[in-house]
């Protein structure tokens, strides 16, 4: 078999954990090879070994049948291995062209000679259908475009093995489609691709073969065409995963959240949320669906008190909270799973325990005369860690920064749900998580609903919108354009509303 890269019996240990345990990965020339695994299964570690960021304790790497030693990213680059990181490595105030040539600049007597480089970049972008303006500033282009710049960087360096580390996590559905096309195009031109992901749909769509990791071990490599999504997810999680969200009929009760004419302006006076009115009842999950950037974030921030409302009223359990402080909203029973877990959701330098009491530390349970009861904090944290299955190296004392993304998200959910809120605002609660964690979070949301709580879910994932919610409000350019029953519409119809080409007046 013609393998371009072979990683044989790789073992990589960190203190306390074996990140990769005897993992073997063989990449054929010209294929898209998916690397599938839960958060923290060791995918990124394995790729970091290949990219020269880590030295494995055991195992060997072959390139074109020859053993090679990769000590740092320079070696990897010399061997034609390139990587698109999940968080792009771009200089934001440089142009696209400047970013692409950064590090391999063509110079003449110490001065930059851009003409040749520009020609090559334009050629490449035409050949691979990666349209991007070489003179645009990176800070001005979309995330999808930035990713193209990263791909062009690899192509410019004539890499033949391209590693994509969860490339779709940051993209909109349309951009994901584009990327899939680009990846196929790249393999037609002879490149080989390693594609790290935990999204099964994408693997089905583009990958030829798939290697599954679970808890650092290699579970197996399969031909994607020959297995079903269910089989792959079972390999990944180690048990059967239910894709259909099981839930009973909703029994909406009293209104929990009443929003009337809510308006939020940007600092330039543009209406980001425009005269929005809706009601969320106890015992139902209402989902705000829409394409990213249509005012969802601002709407939630205004509801949570993090942005001032420029008009309208917000009532929580009948009480006007339009101008209430964030803390009084919390105390009145509003919980909030924020969109950006690193910016808003966690204090990454605090321990897990300290993060779990972030909204309760001032309650008599945890303090006496202004002194924190650390024992009580620890006990409470241990309770949540067990109940919500939050995994971390050192339990409650683990620094939040060192936890995996999925477990960070679980910690936030544990904290917010355990506040026993009347209203739970959940903004993209499953973003970037694997199927097991997603299933778990959906169950939590439904459990809240069944306990008679109101849930307002904001999601960009159409599957999630259709499966979890009891009612869908579509937001388009800051306005609610439709109030839909998920059982009565199709995904295609929903897409039309989200794109703004149809509207139906909300109640």
């Amino acid at each position: 078999m013609d393998y371009i890269i072979e990683m044989l019996h790789i073992t990589k240990q960190f203190p306390g954990i074996i990140a990769n345990d005897d993992v073997t990965l063989q990449l054929r020339r010209g294929e898209i090879h998916a690397l599938l695994g839960e958060n923290g299964a060791g995918k990124s570690t394995l790729m970091s070994v290949l990219f020269g960021l880590y030295q494995p304790e055991k195992g060997t790497i072959f390139k074109n049948g020859q053993p090679v030693k990769i000590d740092d990213p320079n070696d990897a680059n010399a061997l034609g291995i390139g990587m698109v990181h999940q968080h792009f490595k771009l200089v934001h105030n440089f142009t696209v062209l400047e970013n692409i040539i950064l590090g391999v600049e063509t110079t003449k007597r110490g001065f930059l000679k851009m003409d040749q480089a520009r020609k090559k970049v334009v050629e490449l972008s035409e050949r691979y259908n990666l349209k991007v303006d070489p003179d645009a500033r990176v800070s001005d282009i979309t995330v999808g475009m930035q990713q193209r710049v990263e791909i062009l960087k690899m192509l410019y360096r004539e890499n033949e093995v391209l590693i994509f580390d969860e490339p779709t996590a940051v993209l909109t559905p349309q951009e994901i489609e584009e990327l899939m096309k680009i990846m196929k195009e790249l393999t037609r031109e002879g490149k080989s691709i390693l594609f790290i992901t935990h999204k099964l749909n994408e693997i089905k769509q583009v990958a030829d073969r798939c290697t599954v990791l679970r808890k650092g071990r290699c579970i197996g490599t399969v031909d994607v065409a020959g297995v079903s999504k269910e089989e792959m997810s079972e390999m990944m999680v180690g048990r059967k995963v239910n894709f259909i969200v099981e839930k009973s009929q909703a029994h909406p009760g009293e209104p929990a959240l009443e929003v009337k004419g809510l308006t939020v302006n940007s600092s330039h006076g543009k209406k980001l949320v425009n005269n929005v009115s809706f009601t969320v009842h106890k015992g139902e999950i209402v989902c705000i669906a829409g394409i990213d950037g249509n005012g969802q974030s601002e709407l939630v921030y205004a509801l949570a008190g993090m942005l001032p409302a420029d008009g309208g009223t917000v009532r929580l359990n009948g009480k006007d909270v339009t101008h209430a402080s964030i803390r009084s909203r919390n105390d009145m029973g509003m919980s909030h799973i924020p969109e950006d877990r690193h910016k808003d959701g966690l204090i990454l330098d605090y321990s897990l325990g300290e993060n779990l009491v972030l909204k309760r530390y001032y309650k008599p349970q945890f303090q006496k005369g202004g002194f924190l009861k650390f024992k009580e904090v620890g006990r409470y944290a241990d309770k949540l860690i067990e109940r919500y299955d939050i995994r971390s190296g050192q339990g409650a004392a683990t620094i939040a920064r060192s936890m995996s993304g999925g477990n960070q998200q679980k910690a936030i959910i544990a904290r917010e749900v355990d506040l026993n809120p009347e209203l739970l605002l959940a903004v993209q609660p499953t973003r970037g998580l694997d199927v097991g964690a997603i299933e778990y979070i959906h169950k939590q949301l439904i459990a809240q609903r069944d306990a008679g709580k109101a849930v307002l879910l904001v999601s960009l994932e159409l599957d999630e919108v259709m499966n979890v919610s009891d009612r869908i409000l579509v937001i388009y350019e800051g306005e609610i354009v439709a109030d839909l029953d998920p059982k009565a519409i199709t995904i295609q119809e929903l897409g039309l509303y989200m794109a703004g080409s149809q509207r139906r007046q909300a109640q």
Partner: protein, 416 residues
């Protein structure tokens, strides 16, 4: 794992070892400068420095304590601000403003009963320092003006303002210094003069050190700051705001109020330091009306860094820097010119301030694993060194592996 090994890998050992290693390197650099400037006396010079305060007998030790007092206070000021995510470089201003308030009350408010006089003067110093930091705090919290810039400006306003006010109100034009404070405003000796004195002359005169209860107050303040930061909900909130302003706001913490309070408390500590140094008897310090920012203020920065911003560590780092400075003074006996002495002392302090770099080194030596170095680096971030003023805000990577990966790329600087 043996007990010894566990001790080696404990956080306390690593912290102490890194500070000590920093000091050793600083001393070696000092030795090089000694060798360059006066080779024949270099090693004796180093010995004099190492002897530090002990070179002056019991009185010398007392002087070490006296001069450690203000830098422990400014060190606490800087360290407290670091822990709450702020870089208070305004300590010279807050320090001198506090000093002025203390002296003014000490000289003018003689109507106060004796037992209260010095206490009121210290309170005045504390309040003045706090007010001086209030302004940058408000600018930072409400207008997002970088506290480094605004507090540096406040340093100059404070220095020139105090010079003007000293000349106008409490100037001793014969000595060109601020006036002596009333005896009731001098800090009580608390018996320390009975310990730290030298016998001089044929008549066995007690030549007592200037040391007074200031050092005890400084140590008490360090303990108070330690308790506030580590045991109280107030400290929890302040540190939360320092680490992540957005998340604190999200959690319902009034982050603007906390930023202002952090600055004010930091300023109060520096202002109190000014009071403690200047409310001293006949041979203590006086304000010289010169256009120089108070060195005790800036010295708070290396004290805080060497103490890794830990209030208890700051007690020791303050004592150490005072000790080594005293040793430097005695170098003049060996015909070293004062400028060279200043350079040597500065070099030692400079290296000491790099304790954090040595921390990584110690971890690698002990553990030999990069991953732990990473943990320690995160811990160092926790210690507050990545306060916004000092280092650019770091990205928040998803996983530790990626964080390490990002770091190593930065190290090699040659990802592509």
């Amino acid at each position: 794992m043996s007990k010894f090994r566990r001790f080696l890998e404990s956080r306390g050992f690593i912290n102490a070892a890194s500070s000590i290693l920093a000091i050793v390197v600083g001393l070696l650099v000092g030795l090089v400068i000694l060798l360059v400037s006066n080779p024949s006396e270099a090693f004796r010079g180093l010995w004099v420095i190492l002897q530090g305060g002990f070179g002056g007998g019991a009185k010398g030790v007392g002087q070490v304590l006296y001069f450690a007092t203000p830098i422990i206070m400014t060190g606490l000021s800087v360290g407290f601000a670091f822990k709450t995510g702020l870089f208070n470089i305004g300590t010279p201003g807050q320090f001198i403003v506090g000093a002025f308030a203390a002296i003014y009350i000490g000289v003018k408010w003689t109507f106060l009963p004796g037992a209260l006089h010095w206490i009121v003067a210290l309170l005045g110093a504390t309040v003045a320092g706090g007010l001086w930091a209030l302004i940058p705090g408000i600018f930072k919290a409400f207008f997002n003006v970088n506290e480094v810039i605004s507090s540096i400006m406040m340093n100059y306003i404070g220095m020139y303002g105090v010079n003007y006010l000293v000349k106008k109100n409490i100037y001793d034009s014969l000595k060109a210094l601020s006036q002596n404070v009333a005896p009731t405003a001098v800090l009580p000796r608390a018996g320390l003069d009975k310990i730290f004195y030298n016998m001089t002359g044929a008549n066995n005169v007690h030549d007592a050190s200037t040391v007074n209860c200031g050092i005890l107050i400084a140590i008490a303040m360090a303990i108070v700051v330690y308790i506030i930061l580590n045991k109280t909900t107030f400290g929890y909130e302040l540190k939360a705001c320092g680490y992540n302003r957005h998340a604190s706001r999200y959690a319902g913490i009034n982050e603007k109020r906390n930023i202002v309070l952090s600055m004010v408390i930091s300023g109060m500590l520096a202002g109190l330091g000014g009071g403690l140094l200047y409310l001293s008897g006949a041979n203590g310090r006086r304000i010289k009306v010169v256009d120089v920012l108070a060195a005790e203020g800036f010295n708070g920065i290396p004290v805080a860094l060497l103490g890794l911003s830990n209030p208890l560590g700051i007690i020791f780092s303050g004592l150490f820097i005072s000790y080594i400075t005293q040793g430097g003074n005695y170098l003049q006996r060996l015909d070293f010119v004062p400028e060279i002495i200043d350079i040597i002392i500065a070099a030692i302090i400079y290296c000491s301030a790099l304790a954090l770099i040595f921390k990584n080194l110690v971890v690698r030596l002990v553990g030999g694993k990069k991953k732990e170095a990473e943990d320690i680096a995160a811990e160092a971030g926790r210690a507050g060194m990545s306060g916004k003023g000092l280092l650019p805000p770091e990205e928040t990577p998803e996983t530790p592996e990626k964080e390490l990966a990002a770091d190593q790329e930065a190290e090699t600087g040659k990802e592509e």
